[in-house]
Amino acid sequence: MANNNVAIRTQGLVKFYGDFQALYGVDLEVNRGEIFGFLGPNGAGKTTTIRCLLDLIHRNKGEVSVLGIDPREDPVSIKVRVGYMPGELHLDDSLNAEGLLHYFNALRGKSADWSYISELAQRLSLDLKRPIRNLSHGNKQKVGIVQTLMHKPELIIMDEPTQGLDPLMQQEVLKLVKEAQAWGATIFFSSHIMSEVEAVAERVGIIRAGRIVEVADPKKLGSRSLRRARIRFQKNVDRARIEEIKGVSVLSESNGREMLIQVEGEMDALIKALSAYPVSDFETDRPSLEEIFLAYYEN
């Protein structure tokens, strides 16, 4: 399985929790230096896959290689080179943020540069002196991000890194991810937010019900993505005329004056077609990832 260009490889990864099968032979390959988005709805197997990579849980079948090492054989050598941000982040609340980071740094043989930790904290507006127990969910998340990046790891594994952060901080985290790539790190991050993955990932792996459904270019995925639009017209409009527009299907209508439509792919054709009608309001929305999956991967 050894290949120097590959940071993460899984082949036929299977995981059971008792009688429940969480992974059904996951095959995945993440190249060194790339930002790889791992996308899937809740319960799809993202966290289980990630935890197998770090030997936090033991696989039942299949092969796994992280930075050329099997996590079952030598997990410590992997963890030295990896920064990990768990999806369900819980921190030791007997310390303050600084104390906790000192503890993690000591476990890492003091490999982190404290000035970089201070810089990260400053960029994320995190007060390191505050006790963990007094931190909000978002601020705890920031502590998690700092501990993930502080030692400038070769491989960064983040499970839903931006959850609980405000939009500005989400942007800052995605910026940090890009910067990490610049120093040569490979980034493997999971998310259930399509736009977030589209913004930074070079490739996207989609997992659903414990199986990799597709590995794709996020732009390609974006162009295939679904959008919803609610249109209010000033007068009655024939539903059939709207359904004639390329990629559009009408989900519901009320009195011919209000329609909920679904658009597949680009919005261009719809916008141009709507210019012929008296539109009083137009709202767009992205359906949930689960809905997208249902639409694309139903079978």
Partner: protein
Amino acid sequence: MLTVFKHTLSRSRGAIFGWGLTLALLGMMFVPFYDTIVENAAAFEELMAIYPPEIMAFFGGAADFTSPEGFLSLEYFSFMPLVIGVYAVLAGSGMLADDEEKGVLDLIAAQPISRSALFWGRLFSLWAIQLVILAFGWAGVMFATTYSSMVLDPVELLIPFASLGGLLFFFTGLSLLFSMLLPSKRSAGMLSGIFLVASFFLNGLAGLSDTLKEIAPFFPLYYYQSDNWVNGFEPGWLLSLLGFGLLFKLAAWWAFQRRDIRVGGEGGWKLKLPKFLNRKPVEA
């Protein structure tokens, strides 16, 4: 391992002072009663003579309570297994499972530290904490002799505390092992606690029933020696408690290497029961 050891020790300061001072204060509170007992020995002997044999058997039989050894055995060391046992059960079952159930262990285990180093770092720290707590207890009793007529040899007093330490070691190991095998910290603590209390009562009542006397050697409290420190102390009994405690800890270590670390908020896993116990109710 040293980092884990130091960190665990540092975050357990509350437990050390809480349990240590409790043990010390109990000693400081009970020892002065010895003066009253000695002054009124005849009256107390009459009183003890009318006590039901069940109660006397429970507190160690007809020990000479006018001697420091007999008095401490009756008033202090007789119930200490329960006090120290509760601490042992809480400390053992929570050593890893507490952080695991809180979701904290996930991130710690993701740091570059082996599971063995994490396990032994915490366990060594727990041993150090328990030694300090016992030392507090010993110091409390010794300190109380400065304002009482009781005369104690500080070295000889180490013997019952060593026996107490043996029980502590045994029950810490047992509850730690249960926490690695059972679905939750609570179930591990509950099972170990039931075993502790059952063992305590069974051993206390063994003097009254031949059947219980035959069963008692299978329970750890039988090997606890609180009343025969000077003469008749059996080092083999102490070693047995320590040996079983170590065995449980080794088994817990083995189990910890092989189990999944639960993710935060996951709670306890479901214990797999035999099919006949796990039958679903038939719907009407």
